[in-house]
Amino acid sequence: MLVVFPSCNSDGRRELRFGGTAGKIVVIARMASSHRIDSGPAMSFTLTQIDSFLVDTNKSKKAVTGTAVPLKGTLFDMLNRIFQNSDAECRHDIAFSKSQDGKQQNEVRDLMIDYLSAPSQRTGMPLAKRLQSVTTERSGMGLLFLLTGSNATEERLVVSRFPADSAILADDSGGGLTVQFLEKVFMKSATSYKAAVYRAKSLSSGFWQGRAVDKQVNGDLTISTYWIEEFLNSGFRITPAHGTRRLATYLREAIKAEEDIAIKESLIAAAQLAKGFDGQALTPESFCKQLKLSKEATQALLNRCPNDDVKREQFRFNVEEFGKQLSIRTVQLDNGGSLTAPADDFNRVFRQDQVDGKAGKVQFTTQGVVVDDRLRKDGRQ
């Protein structure tokens, strides 16, 4: 494959030259304005090496080809923005998996350490080959970039993959219009790449955790198993049970402490709806957002989180674990009445007695000060 565009032009096209004899590859930088970053404090890492590899699917049996990217020019500017902004863009906290026999070893981490120890086409190639070995027809051809650099104390590695697309090039520079079909176009846009960033002080003991993003799937919190598990041999940094338990605990504490009855009801309703998230990636922040909790209810929950990391740390919601930590019990009676309270508090709040001589008939009693009394119509408050 050969890149055909001879030089960088004003719309951001820039050539990359790979080994091979035919074909066309274009990289187009098209960053959404919301994803532009400013230079300044965030630029504290210096990007010192960029290697790129054309990665086909595992069925293609094609040899992976690669090229080093010069550290100047428009393509460098685009990749440098990705490199500098990677901490902010990559939102999923991930960690490498240990080996099958429990040892502190991960084959992908090993490949990254090899690359970081002496960044080059040679040391980057095994990572590209691994990506090709897990790339199915569905994921298709992609362009892999390895970006590495450091600041005074840390090394950083950004791994990014752009999927191949097709496009039509319209050129009116010769007085008339010519159109040309481009079969391999790689676009860096807000919705079309995957990336992962790792940073650590020590190559030997660090680089066990990183952050990842998948802009090719819908929703900020979704990430393909192809990228995280199959290629990076990683998983979320916290387990489903841990993340779910933490969310349930904060929610339970918030419900218990909340004095405003509307906020309390809103949080109870959120707990009741939570089972719908089973298996989904969540954070405490996204939980509030997806359930459209009010600002006050959101604050009541998020104030329980001890730091911002906890508010934003992803985990896969586990409905069973949530039920163990927090369940809301609602009893409906055949007279039209219903009673609702957190399950572990229900029997304290409501006393239940059998009614003599009436099979299945019960009487509930409770005492308290009325703090709110509202008429609610369906769909409105």
Binding site: F96, G102, K103, G206, W208, Q209, P306
Partner: protein, 203 residues
């Protein structure tokens, strides 16, 4: 090495000691419903022990750790001591359910006919909820070591560590046999107590 001592001393006092307390409370919360736990402990590695480990050499005389503050992973060690062997696997399952590890190993003697140290060891990420403004994450190590042991495994390991690792002299051949004998006794006691426990529960 004096720089390492000073740096670690500062980290020890400012970060590790309060972090160990938080970690112990955190683990206690996670296992509060589990029966037959003798105790849960967490400690910051002492400055002397850290420096001694940092100074270790490899077989060819080079320093084992080029960056001990980043590389030594048991700066905080936690331990869960259980009554019976039967409960160890259940606890291991629970640990894997709620913590993310980069290492998990069952330590047993090298040969089947030998007796010695036994235990389950994990290297785990610190849970992020342990950190706040008073205890910032950036100043703390990434990992801690967790050991899961029975009472007998723990008792033998503590005595063995105290007696067998003296800097001024090595144990004699007979003393080493004493140590192996006590390890075998602990191993046997663990099994018999466990059998009694299982019989008692099932009867």
């Amino acid at each position: 090495m004096s720089d390492i001592r000073a740096e670690y001393q500062q980290r020890h006092d400012r970060i590790l000691v309060p972090l160990a307390t938080r970690l112990r409370d955190h683990i206690q919360e996670f296992v509060k419903d589990v029966p037959r736990i003798d105790r849960i402990a967490a400690r910051a590695k002492s400055v002397d022990r850290f420096v001694a480990k940092a100074e270790k050499l490899t077989d060819n005389g080079a320093r084992k750790y080029s960056d001990p503050l980043s590389q030594i992973q048991d700066q905080i060690g936690a331990r869960i001591i259980l009554f019976y062997l039967n409960d160890v696997e259940k606890m291991v399952t629970l640990v894997n359910q709620y913590f993310t590890s980069i290492e998990e190993k069952e330590i047993v003697p090298d040969e089947d006919s030998k007796f010695g140290y036994v235990g389950r060891h994990f290297i785990l990420f610190f849970p992020s909820e342990l950190f706040d403004q008073q205890l910032p994450k950036d100043d703390a190590p990434e990992f801690f070591e967790l050991q899961v042991k029975t009472l007998f495994q723990h008792a033998w390991a503590e005595s063995n560590h105290d007696l067998a690792y003296k800097p001024d002299r090595s144990l004699t051949a007979e003393e080493l046999r004493y140590v192996a004998f006590t390890a075998a006794q602990s191993w046997g006691a663990d099994r018999i107590m466990n059998e009694l426990f299982i019989k008692t529960v099932n009867s």
